[in-house]
């Protein structure tokens, strides 16, 4: 029998082999799957608390000193996080929305390649289940969490959500205030009896046929809403200890969220859309500026839209024609605009505002005078009309990518809460009511099967099934979310900015699975999502009302 020789090299080789094997086996399968994503490969680390417990669902953010671009990733069940490869440079490392933990921020961290970031240990400063309503904590909670924690009945809170969640402002703005009874009466009167988001004109002076009060509220409901606000936000009201919603788990953590600063305050981005060169265009709802963001550098080029004297500036809908020209509407001055990116020239045609659908042939679809209308893009005038029987009009207007189908949502109409869908080839029209009768379906999109998906301010996603002609509604797991829109992707999954909840939902109708991607900022209004179908997996973009552009890149 040959006697085995022991040497340093043998011992070391065996030891290193064993160590490597243990390391590989010790890495959970979820992490191995995660690190395979080509989107990752940058700085990584671990988040734990002071007792050594690994923290899941914590946001970890790097803010570039050079470009101010913010990149956020999430820790998994092992407390591990991993960034994408970022440009070498100085970054600020921070934990957004730490809630029960002390603020964590390191101002100068050099990132180059794939460094291991030193362990992030978070100190818990608020013990127990509930958080004290300090100014710091209240600023870290979403609209939905504010409403969830307020006293009040389900009836009162849903009324508030329906009326005050229609999209004009955040709930923080209303619920941070306290007024006496007269003050709340004046405030709600102004909100309900004046028209459009800017509340410039009384509803009836703007349109004699309009209802006196908006949001489809009856006089009893208006009164109940007023009493609710007078009671829960009266002069002596105080916030009680707050219960935060759960941090994300599993797939909701496998995402990268990137935020791009814009050159100006208060441009109030509304719609976004990507062009063939990878730029992201945005409209500004409150200013005469249309912007083009280059995500590779974070640089924004601004285009000044000519002003219509006497009307507030600002745009709304945005799309790109086959000729590469940017098509948009001006929402307060009611103009159709076209921007030529090559020359920067902007032309405007009066008579068209709001949201419209751009067909592949260049014609624009929407509703007018109680009918579905096809508009000539050169005149903004209808050239074809298809009368509706139940809906008086649609808020959002969508045309499928192949130009075959049209769909739109009709919110706030007291006798019809539903979706309008039309086969533009056969001219068949369906007007289908929601089962909830409180969905307030608004804007959306049409999936590859021809089904319409419309996000509703009542908090549901409505789906018109092309084959059965039935309407289905889907409600997300988190309470008090509202939707302004929805956008199906190339795979049939649906993306929607959940206003109030500081998150974007991704719904798979084949599996009924919801993934909610939470944002680093709790005060958030997402008007319009644009899905980039050029990548696998797809990614989503939106323009944040508070002045920056957000990119959501799932890892799966």
């Amino acid at each position: 029998m040959k006697r085995r020789r022991f040497s340093i090299s043998n011992v070391l080789s065996t030891g290193i082999s064993l160590w490597l094997t243990i390391c590989v086996l010790a890495v959970p399968s979820s992490l191995r799957a995660q690190t395979k994503s080509p989107l990752l490969g940058g700085a990584s680390g671990i988040v734990k608390n002071g007792t050594g417990a690994l923290l899941e669902g914590m946001m970890v953010q790097l803010v570039s000193h050079k470009t101010a671009i913010r990149t956020t990733v999430f820790s998994d069940q092992n407390g591990r996080f991993e960034f994408p490869k970022l440009a070498a440079g100085w970054y600020t490392l921070r934990i957004p929305r730490p809630l029960e933990f002390r603020t964590y921020q390191k101002d100068s961290v050099w990132v180059e390649g794939s460094p291991q970031i030193e362990e992030i240990v978070l100190e818990r400063i608020h013990p127990g289940e509930f958080l004290p309503p300090t100014p710091e904590i209240m600023a870290q909670l979403s609209d939905s969490e504010w409403l969830f924690n307020l006293p009040g009945t389900g009836y009162e809170k849903k009324l508030f959500s329906n009326a005050c969640g229609s999209g004009c402002h955040t709930w923080h703005q209303s619920l941070r205030d306290r007024f006496d009874e007269k003050g709340w009466a004046l405030m709600t009167n102004r909100m309900m009896t004046y028209a459009t988001r800017l509340l410039i004109e009384p509803r009836t002076s703007r349109n004699p046929n309009d209802t006196e009060a908006g949001f489809g509220l009856s006089s009893e409901e208006q009164n109940a809403l007023l009493k609710f606000l007078q009671r829960v936000r009266g002069p002596n009201s105080e916030f009680q200890p707050m219960k935060a919603f759960p941090r994300p788990k599993g797939a909701a953590n496998r995402v990268i969220i990137t935020e791009y600063e814009l050159p100006r305050f208060d441009v109030r981005p509304h719609d976004v859309v990507g062009d063939k060169d990878g730029n992201i265009w945005y409209t500004s709802n409150r200013n005469p500026i249309i912007g083009k963001l280059d995500p590779r550098t974070g640089v924004v080029k601004e285009y000044k839209v000519p002003i219509t004297v006497g009307k507030h500036t600002g745009q709304h809908w945005l799309d790109i024609g086959k000729d590469g020209k940017i098509v948009f509407t001006e929402t307060w001055s009611n103009n159709l605009g076209v921007l030529d990116p090559r020359s920067g020239e902007i032309s405007k045609i009066p008579g068209m505002g709001g949201n419209k659908g751009l067909a592949p042939d260049g014609f624009i679809w929407g509703t007018c005078g109680g009918a579905i209308c096809k508009f000539d893009p050169k005149t903004a005038k209808p050239v074809e009309k298809y009368p509706l029987k139940r809906a008086t009009g649609t808020y959002g207007n969508e045309v499928s990518a192949d130009g075959r189908y049209f769909a739109g949502g009709d919110p706030w109409q007291r006798d019809f809460d539903g979706v309008v869908w039309m086969d533009l080839q056969t001219k068949e029209i369906y007007e289908v009511e929601t089962h909830s009768q409180g969905g307030d379906p608004s804007r959306g999109g049409i999936d590859p099967e021809g089904n319409a998906w419309i996000g509703g301010r009542g908090g549901t996603l409505s789906m018109f099934d092309r084959k059965t002609h039935q309407l289905r509604e889907f409600t997300p797991p988190t309470p008090y979310l509202t939707f302004y829109e929805a956008k199906p992707d190339k795979n049939g999954e649906v993306w929607a900015g959940a206003q109030r909840g500081a998150r974007m939902v991704r719904f798979n109708p084949k599996t009924d699975r919801w993934i909610e991607y939470q944002f680093p900022e709790p005060i958030s209004l997402n008007w319009r999502t644009w899905v980039d179908n050029s990548s696998t997996p797809v990614s989503a973009w939106y323009g944040e009302h508070n002045g920056y552009i957000v990119h959501i890149q799932p890892l799966e």
């Binding site: 961290v109 600023a139 007269k182």
Partner: protein, 162 residues
């Protein structure tokens, strides 16, 4: 033994490189630019909720409070549509308020706090500091939002991409 030496050397090099990378992540090197971290709170919601995006205090902060709390009723567009709220531009150049009282910090503060027949009183919504900043916005002739700011919005100092 030569193999063993090579192996030990390789391990030293690997660990040495790792240590250098870890050191570099916080210490910085000579060829690197100086760090220039962004100023202020990086939790945007704190600045938004407490009107501190533009300034921590003073007329610039007052401008933001004006935009969120006053503009909706006092802007030029809605006045043209018949809203009774008076314009607030050059408020301190006027001899008196609509109530007949003289225009000064005390009367303007009182008006903001108590409101009027068509105006909610903000005494429970805005702090003394909020109202002081808002009054300074009027007093120093900075009002109002709807002119320059609408057509040429203020620059965002956080924007750094070039």
């Amino acid at each position: 033994m030569a193999n063993a030496r090579r192996l030990v050397l390789a391990i030293i090099l690997i660990f040495g490189a790792s240590a250098a990378a870890l050191h570099g992540q916080t210490a910085g090197g000579d060829s690197r630019p100086a760090p220039d971290p962004p100023k202020g709170s990086l939790q945007r919601s704190e600045e938004i909720l407490y009107f501190k995006r533009m300034a921590d205090s003073g007329p610039e902060r007052g401008q933001e409070i004006y935009f969120f709390k006053c503009w909706v009723c006092h802007n030029a567009y809605t006045r043209a549509a018949g809203t009774p709220a008076p314009p607030l531009k050059d408020l301190y150049k006027r001899p008196k308020l609509l109530s007949g009282q003289p225009v000064n910090d005390q009367t303007v503060t009182e008006k903001i706090k108590k409101g009027g027949p068509a105006m909610p009183g903000y005494q429970y919504s805005l702090s003394d500091q909020d109202i002081s900043d808002l009054v300074s916005f009027f007093r120093e002739g900075k009002c109002c939002w709807e002119d320059k700011e609408e057509f040429d919005p203020p620059r965002n100092p956080r924007y750094r991409a070039r």
